[in-house]
């Protein structure tokens, strides 16, 4: 994940449906019940990397929280809010120094504590619940787990307190029109039988390992995700209902080699409203949607831990293109909604694929697969490949470092699992 944008630089999230704080007292009571009972139980232990002045700010916020008036009094809440903002801003700077990998986990925890204290202040005001959820999400996206993942539990409480206004009939008509899959003008490529990626129905772990994983050969697995709840449940309505107010990092731009490509953070509702019809995206899967998917059994054949499996949701309109590139991990690409045209080139073909020379893009080919410039890239023509049209319910195994090119033929929702 690239570096986050400024914490306060986001516009207020727009939930298309109204949200209100329902009986503010109940909300605070429910949230308060999630916190440790006493001040002493809220331990603020950090390594020496975290300066004493920051620790004393955290202690100050904690003292206000557990003080006589807690955050119900206007003045203590205001002070706590100020202190939280300083903690957030200071740790945000630390999170932006060096590469993300190098950021000390303790600074990410400090950031999460800052978000926690700010959220607790916001819960006491008659403010927007969607905005409060947004701050929790920032703590989850950029911070690290604190107090047994308290931010996730707070979001659960907040979502229960969200009340939805009735959608007008007009809005429903528009939604219905927007949801239609547009494939009138899509060119569906034809695939020669010698290029086709083989398909298997529920192979045994052993068979998959011996014949595909070890010799690094791509294969389409069928019948292995039919039982996943997502196959029946996921639709735009469902996504709005479960995750509408949640903030996710989104890639914007049809190809990340484009000049207009960028990463940004937005709520799922905003994303669906603005981009699902016109632009591409992907976002890190949020816990609520994670319930509807499982880890493919075949991932257990790898050497890595289950915790290290990266799961991403790829949600975009017809025409979304991922330019030819390779990833450093094995990949199971699960197709849930819509179809994708996918081409695979073996790593042995790398020389014919003209990877970019810069360090940042050396895993990306310079060639536009379906419209190659053969004058500039003559060797591309002789590169051998396999192809498929991946349909809902199918899972494509992309061996590590295998070059892959993807074009969505419909509004498409896929889930990828990166594992080793």
């Amino acid at each position: 994940m690239s570096q986050p944008s400024s914490p306060e630089g986001l516009a207020t999230s727009s939930c298309p449906t109204a949200d209100q704080v329902s009986a503010g007292n109940t909300l605070w009571a429910d949230i308060r019940a999630l916190l440790p009972n006493t001040k002493e139980d809220l331990k603020l232990d950090f390594s020496e990397k975290v300066e004493e002045s920051v620790i004393s700010l955290l202690q100050q916020a904690r003292d206000l929280l557990y003080g006589a008036e807690s955050l119900c009094s206007g003045s203590t809440r205001e002070t706590c809010l100020q202190v939280s903002e300083i903690i957030i801003d200071y740790s945000w700077e630390k999170l932006n120094i060096g590469t993300w990998r190098d950021v000390d986990k303790d600074w990410r925890r400090v950031y999460s504590y800052g978000c926690l204290f700010k959220v607790l202040c916001m819960c006491n005001e008659q403010g927007s619940i969607a905005d409060t959820i947004r701050i929790c999400d920032m703590g989850l996206l950029m911070g690290a787990s604190i107090l047994d993942n308290i931010l996730v539990r707070i979001i659960n409480v907040l979502q229960k307190h969200l009340t939805y206004g009735k959608r007008s009939a007009e809005e429903d008509t528009k939604e219905g029109q927007r949801k239609k899959i547009r494939n009138d003008h899509t060119t569906v490529p034809s695939i020669k039988s010698e290029e086709a990626i083989p398909r298997l129905h529920c192979p045994s772990l052993e068979h998959f390992r011996e014949n595909y994983m070890i010799p690094t050969k791509p294969v389409i697995l069928e019948g292995i995700v039919d039982h996943w709840p997502c196959m029946k449940k996921w639709s735009l309505d469902y996504l709005r209902q479960i995750a509408g107010c949640r903030t996710v990092p989104v890639e914007v731009g049809s190809r990340y080699t484009d000049e207009e490509w960028s990463q940004t953070l937005m709520t799922v509702n905003d994303f669906i409203d603005q981009y699902i019809v016109n632009k591409v995206c992907y976002f890190h899967i949020i816990p609520e949607l994670k319930q509807d998917i499982c880890i493919p059994d075949y991932c257990s054949l790898g050497e890595g831990e289950e915790d290290n499996i990266t799961i991403n949701a790829w949600f975009g309109p017809e025409g979304t293109i991922s330019p030819l590139h390779q990833d450093p991990q094995q990949n199971f690409l699960v197709q849930v909604i819509g179809r994708k045209y996918i081409r695979l080139y073996s790593p042995q073909e790398s020389e014919n694929l003209y990877p970019h020379e810069t360090q940042i893009l050396h895993n990306t080919s310079q060639v536009d697969v379906e419209d190659p410039d053969l004058v500039k890239f003559p060797k591309f023509e002789r590169a051998a490949f396999q192809a498929c049209i991946l349909t809902p319910g199918q899972v494509l195994f992309i061996p590590v470092k295998y070059w892959h090119y993807v074009r969505s033929l419909d509004v498409s929702f896929s889930v990828s699992f990166w594992w080793l």
Partner: protein
């Protein structure tokens, strides 16, 4: 807290240590209870070297954190050195600028995002004689002998005075989605780009988040700059006529405009002319700004 020794010409503090320049020696004292025990690190300086502002010392530069002394190539004759969060800017005696370190936000000014491990000349400014340099957290600024201001690096809070998308969004939230909801239902299922959306998309192309090459920044009224300093995410410049301009992150009042708004345009700090003061110099802390001014 114990007392620091006397006869210090200069010092650099951090939360854990204080670095002192005393006569011909550098000393580092650890803060807290250990302060009374004496310096934890010392370094003699070569006598007879032209006095230069800290953190420059002969053959290197110092920081109030381990490893305290970082070497520089002896051939590099340095006039001034400033540090960002993850980069270094050096003003050579001949008015040239060298940068090195991380460039993930373009703060080195070489046109790319790749890190550089050794001092490299900023070629875009070669040929112009620079008089001063300053470094913010992730941005760099230089002033030519003629008073021209050059900026490069991260513009996420408007600290380069270039159009910032984040600030524009704060000023006009969610215009795109508003226009979408008002779009009349068409017979077809497609949602075409409406005119306001197209305009927003076009504007988006003009925002600058990262400026990887130095860009010339004109202050209002074509003022010539005499001094410049950078905080973590803001910039302050003093003109030859004694006016102070600030821009960038303003959440903690560091821009001095009596509010907490951030700005991606240089604004003059009205306090000084309003009180009959001429600004002479500026130094920025990470989130604040210090001014020295005299009565007109």
């Amino acid at each position: 807290m114990g007392a620091l020794p006397g006869h210090c010409q200069d010092l650099l503090p951090s939360e854990s240590h204080v670095l002192l320049l005393r006569g011909a020696a550098l000393e580092v004292w650890a803060r807290g209870a250990e302060l009374c025990r004496g310096p934890s690190w010392q370094q003699q300086l070569h006598p007879g070297e032209a006095a230069r502002p800290l953190p420059l010392v002969s053959h290197g530069y110092v920081t109030p954190r381990p490893p305290f002394l970082c070497p520089l190539p002896p051939a590099l004759r340095a006039q001034k050195l400033v540090l960002g969060h993850e980069h270094v800017v050096l003003l050579g005696c001949a008015g040239t600028i060298y940068t090195w370190g991380c460039s993930r936000h373009g703060q080195l000014g070489h046109g790319g995002l790749e890190p550089v491990s050794e001092p490299r000349l900023v070629e875009a400014l070669d040929g112009m004689s620079m008089g001063d340099v300053a470094a913010g957290g992730w941005h760099s600024v230089s002033v030519s002998e003629g008073g021209d201001l050059y900026v490069w690096g991260w513009n996420e809070a408007g600290q380069l005075a270039l159009p910032s998308k984040a600030l524009a969004e704060k000023r006009a939230p969610a215009t795109a989605s508003v226009s979408q909801h008002e779009e009349p239902c068409t017979g077809q299922a497609e949602l075409k780009l409406t005119h306001p959306e197209a305009a927003l998309a076009a504007e988006a192309a003009d925002f600058i988040s990262i400026q990887a090459f130095p860009a010339l920044l004109d202050l209002p009224e074509g003022s010539e700059v005499s001094k410049v300093s950078c905080g973590s995410r803001h910039t302050a410049a003093v003109t030859r006529t004694g006016k102070l301009y600030t821009w960038g992150w303003g959440k903690y009042g560091q821009l001095g405009h009596k509010d907490t708004a951030s700005s991606d345009q240089p604004r003059q700090v009205g306090y000084f002319p309003a009180n009959g003061l001429t600004v002479e110099d500026v130094v920025c802390g990470p989130w604040n700004t210090y001014i020295s001014a005299v009565e007109k």
